[in-house]
Subunit: 312 residues, 2 copies
């Protein structure tokens, strides 16, 4: 970073739940640059020394804390909070878990599963011959809703939150619709890498330092978050190595997504020697999802893209 | 092409509907190379001289013919038909229509709309300052189902058909699960370019010559089509120019997709001066769709990606 950030949000300044009446952790002017020392999505329950038993005992009430809220001076309902995502610095390790009862194929993966990733400068090792490129971002980023109560942090909403959108990386500009005075911005759930969909329910969950700039705009309006970036959508090594693609075809997009992932798990078993839990976790951390067709009634097509650069 | 194709399927050798008892247009050995002279998806009802009245009068019973069926010797139920897609050569023009009653936002776009595209070597002009890169593929490609009757050509099925999957371009290898003797392969609905989803119901619909190779494999099994390619997923000009992204967030993936497209139509109106029908058509021909998150109950996130290289 060329400039020293002006504001800092600590690891302990975090909360569970979006509440329009929450006291701000920090008040900043529009244009402020901030760093956040972000705890992992388990709120510190899982670390690089955790066991399967720790996964089985996870307390969901502590999951997905966000840091903040940050009150941005001059942000009023109807404005846009313009977020320049500047830097994501992971801290050496990450974890991926299958938590029973959670995930796209929860019924088919009833057992706890856990993997600790050592994060190198460019890649995280999975099993022999397979590694995942590091592309850090934050899963949770948003502002408070103008609704009463302490809103659950798991579902994303029109003001953002747990969007788990992997393009929210350094260099992306995110626009959030402000609903309350000061916006009450928060972020958390940092991921060292994730596939579209985050299908097993976890990415490479990794504590990290995040730097960003918050500004208020009112030259346009939004109904839900929008974002933009000037860079490729795919990394260079994936563009060179290409993709293997599976499909799900049917009248329900969610079930078609499940089928595309089931078929990708089959592919990873038959061609790459993974067991089903490993394959499910690799889909969640590295396989992307597209909607190929959504007009040819009654059947839609969802496609899952396996980038070949995972394989050494 | 280095070699002269051995087999040819003419413009008139086409049918409406998948029928396991249909007489083959052609019988070929495994490994044969074929060219197809593909009529447009309207079956010739719309051309570069058509009018809005022609769109309003479209006979849906003639839509989406496919060329074939081709009987591949040695293909038995349970085998895989391996399709090497070799070349797509458009014939100078294409069209995009909004056909009342058809499309993702049919209720919001009740009027017929029609645009003829002149296809240059690399791009097709839309309106002043906006053009779409040409990336030709076939929307319909598949084999017969082992089901009685003449099956409607509009919905894709586990044996493929109207998949409208834009990655099925030259250089892609497609695997189709064979259900009947000889596979009974067919293709049609060629597109000069399409966005994921084909949201208005039409891409840049364009007659073209298609060359491919058909081979029989039985070293693995499939439930639905799969494909692979060694090339970038995104074109170089889009990778350089970047993207603007809108979202749809909610408990139903289809409605979230509609919202993401509605928000992209708003963006194209407010920032690029298009009217709503033009914006809807540009989404259908050039905007891509991802499922960003599908585990944070009860709300999922669908994202629509506008590549900035459309703008001169």
């Amino acid at each position: 970073m060329a400039t020293i950030p002006s504001f800092h949000v600590t690891r302990s300044e975090r909360r569970i739940g979006w509440d329009r009446t929450a006291a701000p952790a920090l008040v900043v002017p529009s244009g402020a640059e901030l760093t956040f020392d972000v705890i992992d999505s388990s709120g510190g329950q899982l670390t690089d020394t955790s066991t399967l038993q720790d996964v089985a005992n996870i307390d969901f009430a502590q999951v997905d804390p966000f840091h903040g809220p940050v009150f941005v001076e001059g942000a009023h309902p109807g404005d846009i909070l313009h977020v320049d995502l500047l830097e994501f610095m992971p801290k050496g390790y990450g974890w991926t878990a299958n938590m029973p009862g959670f995930g796209l194929l929860a019924d088919e993966f009833p057992e706890p599963w856990f993997h600790v990733w050592e994060l190198g400068p460019k890649r995280a090792q999975f099993v022999k011959g397979i590694s995942v490129p590091i592309e850090p971002f934050c899963g949770v980023i948003g502002v408070a809703r103008d609704e009463p109560g302490n809103l659950d942090v798991i579902p994303p909403r029109r003001t953002g939150g747990n969007m788990d959108s992997k393009q929210l990386r350094a260099g992306t500009t995110l626009y959030l619709p402000v609903e309350v005075e000061g916006a009450l911005f928060g972020l958390g759930d940092t991921h060292a890498a994730q596939g579209d969909g985050e299908v097993c329910g976890n990415a490479i969950e990794a504590p990290m330092d995040v730097t960003l700039r918050l500004s208020v705009r009112r030259d346009f309006t939004l109904e839900t978050p929008e974002y933009e970036f000037v860079r490729p959508l795919e990394r260079a090594s994936a563009a060179e190595a290409g993709y293997y693609v599976t499909t799900g075809i049917g009248p329900d997009l969610l079930e078609a997504t499940r089928d595309a992932i089931r078929h990708m798990i089959d592919k990873l078993e038959r061609s790459h020697g993974l067991d089903r839990y490993e394959a499910y976790a690799l889909c969640s951390t590295a396989v992307d999802l597209k909607i190929s067709e959504v007009v040819d009634q009654p059947n839609w097509v969802v496609a899952a893209f396996l980038p070949r650069d995972l394989f050494a």
